[in-house]
């Protein structure tokens, strides 16, 4: 078999970005995807920021299978019966506010782009081991078949089996990942636009904390697709195991919450999906390069989670491009050793990828504070309940009402500590 310049494992955003960038420079690139088609194994919440996508494919949204572009973004705190929301809308929202996208369509489009640039995309092939030459990775194996290459780029996602096999990182622990579960619920597009106050291709990205995870670290989400909704829950895997709460049950509770129930009413569930998200940022970063191998995207743990932001695909694509630039340089020099491939980490450091992960390095710890998911939503919803009611008794000022709601739930000291931690982490 011919030796490829590079073999990419996984045809998701990281894999396709890296394959496209290398193929465009004339490198011989093979992408191995274990699904029947690119995207077959992939899911996400649904909102996507596209600056790197835009760098690679200017005006991509005009052509790519984008469901809607985000013009409304809400963050809501939920208790069992109440919700209190921060609702941002803009009729000036542009491409920088993100897009809502479904992976099965999008990843296929992206892979097609890499293919048009000259990469070979081979589906239904599961790379399960490496070829070695003098201790350096020299390709991959698919069962008994060998695929030699000068370099292998891992882009096989959060549940990468090859990352640990290559000795690039330890397995993620229970505290390092969140589990996302999601349903795609079909509704006519006019109903979606009416319910969420949208016009044409405008989209809404709704995020929730509080009772949707029964106070456990995580949250709920609802994104409007063209003619369906993506409704799901993300929860820390450690909490699921310790508290013996299933994410699938949380999702049912979430769907039955009075606020959500009205949004999804009369909809028809057409798919149920689940995935892991690495969330502890710099704590779980891998060895980015070894002789003949690089690691990108979720497989490398390159996800930014700050509570307000949960961003993986944009990071994945940036790491894919950086890996490609490294390999292009390495090919020119004819050197694929660790020393040459270490250039990759330098590129990640010089871009937002490692800069932002470092800037928010305390966020994962802050986000383990259960008061965020429990005490604060309850406190603020009960204060709102009081402020917006008149039961005939003499009313107190808003500040006093808020202080009254805090009584027995949280001390001023804890509140100040949490506020300080928030300032330091976010």
């Amino acid at each position: 078999m011919d030796k490829f310049d590079a073999i990419v494992v996984g045809a998701g955003p990281a894999g396709c970005a890296t394959a496209y960038t290398m193929a465009r420079e004339g490198l011989q690139v093979l992408v191995l995807e274990r699904g029947k088609y690119p995207g077959a194994k992939n899911m996400w919440g649904g909102a996507f920021f596209g600056p790197v996508m835009e760098e690679i494919f200017p005006d991509f949204w005009k052509e790519a299978p984008v469901e809607r572009s985000v013009s409304r973004h809400t963050i809501s705190m939920l208790t069992e019966h109440e919700s209190l929301s921060f609702d941002f809308r803009s009729d000036r929202a542009d491409k920088n506010h993100g897009f809502i996208i479904l992976r099965a369509k999008f990843d296929q489009w992206l892979a097609k782009k890499a293919e048009q640039a000259g990469a070979i995309i081979a589906t239904s092939l599961e790379a399960d081991d490496f070829l070695y030459e003098g201790g350096a990775v020299a390709g991959v194996k698919v069962g008994s078949e060998s695929f030699p290459a000068s370099v292998v780029i891992l882009a096989d996602g959060a549940n990468s089996l090859l990352a640990a096999k290559a000795g690039l990182r330890k397995e993620f622990g229970l505290h390092d990942v969140k589990q996302g579960v999601k349903e795609v619920i079909q509704l006519p597009r006019e109903v979606i636009e009416d319910r969420f106050g949208l016009q044409d291709d405008e989209g809404a990205a709704l995020e929730f904390i509080g009772s949707c995870t029964r106070g456990l670290p995580g949250g709920g989400f609802l994104y409007t697709n063209h003619d369906s909704l993506s409704v799901g829950v993300v929860v820390q895997l450690a909490a699921v195991g310790e508290q013996k709460v299933k994410a699938s049950d949380l999702l049912e509770d979430f769907k039955n919450h009075p606020l959500i129930q009205r949004y999804i009413s009369k909809g028809k569930t057409v798919e149920y999906s689940a995935h892991l998200i690495p969330v502890t940022g710099v704590k779980i970063l891998p060895t980015f390069a070894k002789d003949g191998i690089l690691i990108t995207g979720d497989a490398a743990g390159l996800v930014l989670g700050t509570g307000l932001i949960l961003e993986g695909a944009n990071f994945a694509m940036a790491s894919g491009v950086a890996a490609a630039q490294t390999v292009i340089k390495a090919k020119k020099a004819g050197d694929f050793t660790t020393k040459a491939l270490d250039h990759y980490e330098g590129l990640l450091k010089s871009r937002f990828v490692l800069k932002e992960l470092n800037a928010f390095k305390r966020a994962p710890e802050f986000l383990e504070n259960e008061r965020i998911y429990n005490t604060y939503p309850e406190l603020l919803c009960s204060a709102a309940m009081k402020m917006f009611e008149n039961d005939g008794t003499v009313r107190e000022g808003s500040f006093k009402t808020l202080m009254g709601s805090m009584k027995g739930k949280i001390s001023i000291w804890q509140l100040m500590k949490d506020a300080w931690m928030a300032k330091e982490s976010l």
């Binding site: 274990r34 077959a40 099965a104 089996l161 622990g173 990942v177 589990q179 699921v240 149920y272 689940a274």
Partner: protein, 89 residues
């Protein structure tokens, strides 16, 4: 809506080759049942104090692989082309 009803909506190509094997002797020494709760597809069920397992509805998230610290779960991906195929994702 039950998990099994949801899974019935998904497209699976089920392989004859099993991609997850569970060493039940190790499960007998474990009362954590962390696999039962972390699996979003209810592949692990506790019946009469025994873990029973089926791989057919596996969504390939890898949660159980990370969660089981008894080394009872042996996990490989389904062979290429088999397992879940998301239509939406």
């Amino acid at each position: 809506m039950k998990v099994e009803e949801k899974l019935a909506l998904n497209k699976f190509e089920i392989d004859k080759e099993v991609h997850i094997t569970v060493d039940e002797s190790k499960c007998r020494e474990c009362n954590m049942t962390v696999c039962v709760y972390t699996c979003p597809a209810d592949c692990y069920v506790l019946r009469d104090q025994h873990i029973t397992f089926s791989y057919e509805g596996c969504l390939e998230c890898g949660s159980c692989r990370i969660a089981c610290d008894k080394g009872a779960i042996k996990w490989v991906n389904p062979r290429g082309g088999f397992g879940i195929s998301y239509q939406f994702g």
